[in-house]
Amino acid sequence: MDFLRARTWAEALELKAERPEATPIQGGTDVMVEINLDRGRPAALLDLNTVGELAGWSREGEWIRVGAGVTYARLIDELGEVLPGLAQASRTVGSPQIRNRGTLAGNLGAASPAGDGHPPLLASGAVVEAESVRGVRLIPIARFYTGVKRNALAPDELIRAVRVPTAAGPQYFSKVGTRNAMVIAVCSFAIALHPENRRVGTGIGSAAPTPLRAVAAEAFLAGELDWTLGRAGGSALDPEVAARFAELVAGAAAPIDDVRGRAAYRSHALAVMARRTLGWAWHDYLRAGRGAR
């Protein structure tokens, strides 16, 4: 095994072009587990910890550009206001020690269907910024996941950043697990309301070969919600609409039975999380509307 050190982003791209089989490593919270438990031995590790360009985030218009080296701890501390769904999901990642090292880009690189970062990225419509010596490629998040632990990156590409739209409406994340910490999701769900264009975003985790959107549920809900806040401050959520939304979310998943849970349980739990998160989000939407008048 080789240990490749990149000091600059340009150097990292050169190294990845020369050694496309090299596994990039940031926090090591996935990569090192594979090596420690002898589940796989990469030909080379490409350490990106030392690439300063990756360590920050910036605001670019209506977007936040989260560098590939930004840890979950920093997402929680610094971006909770502008990216609430992602920050909520980040709080559920592993433990403090894991959140001090693990990164969103690492979640995307590993592309586990159970990764906590994926559902809020899908719900908010994030874009992955991939780069190689050949240039930059912007990959819409819904097209990024291509299979179980597989993603759309070319062998010579590295994730430079994740571009996430700043929240224009309420966002929620929910996750089922056996404990309140240190848990790989049995299944998870994220919702984002986009009042500016009266759209709904969703993301399902750990209930299909890849993280995915519940597209039919989004379209149904966007059409049913009474987005007008008016003088009365908007109308309460119709329980039948919520129930149908929950059903469509569960229907979008393709869960399996495995060590963490049964398929039938996952479908049930997804419906519950969809209904609950919608309730929380709509409550916030109405409250914000009343406050704004």
Partner: protein, 172 residues
Amino acid sequence: MRVNVTVNGRKTAADDVWEGESLLYVLRERLGLPGAKNACEQGECGSCTVYLDGTPVCACLVAAGQAEGREVVTVEGLASGDAQAAGEGGLHDVQRAFLAAGAVQCGFCTPGLIVQAHALVERAAGRVPDDAEIREALAGNLCRCTGYEKILDAVRLAAAQRATPTAPTPSP
């Protein structure tokens, strides 16, 4: 490969390090610092918690090469670091609180818990954290003996001690 790293304030180097090796292995097997414990090797148990550039991390998940040029503090460093200030055996306040509260049984998880509790007490800076905060801070450290209650006591004790400065200066 050779890895140069500052451990507990001392610049040191480890040789013949395998490229896929963890920082934990380097500390324990190459630098003779067995304080951080090797248990799950997947970041689940927290018994290998050390400071890396001032941040608590699982040493088993840091590739040895990633520690190059960085500063590591292990549980051994907490004790010796405060040797002059501390009393018996040069133990740190957090360590003495664990002893006083009976928060140690088999002791395997203790070094990781001490480091993580130390980070919490330092961050609280004299405030005694509530139960939710302590539980959240220690969520990544597993103990199979104590049932955690006495560990929570130890953290509250250490935090309270930090809040009350020792030996107030007598007025002239």
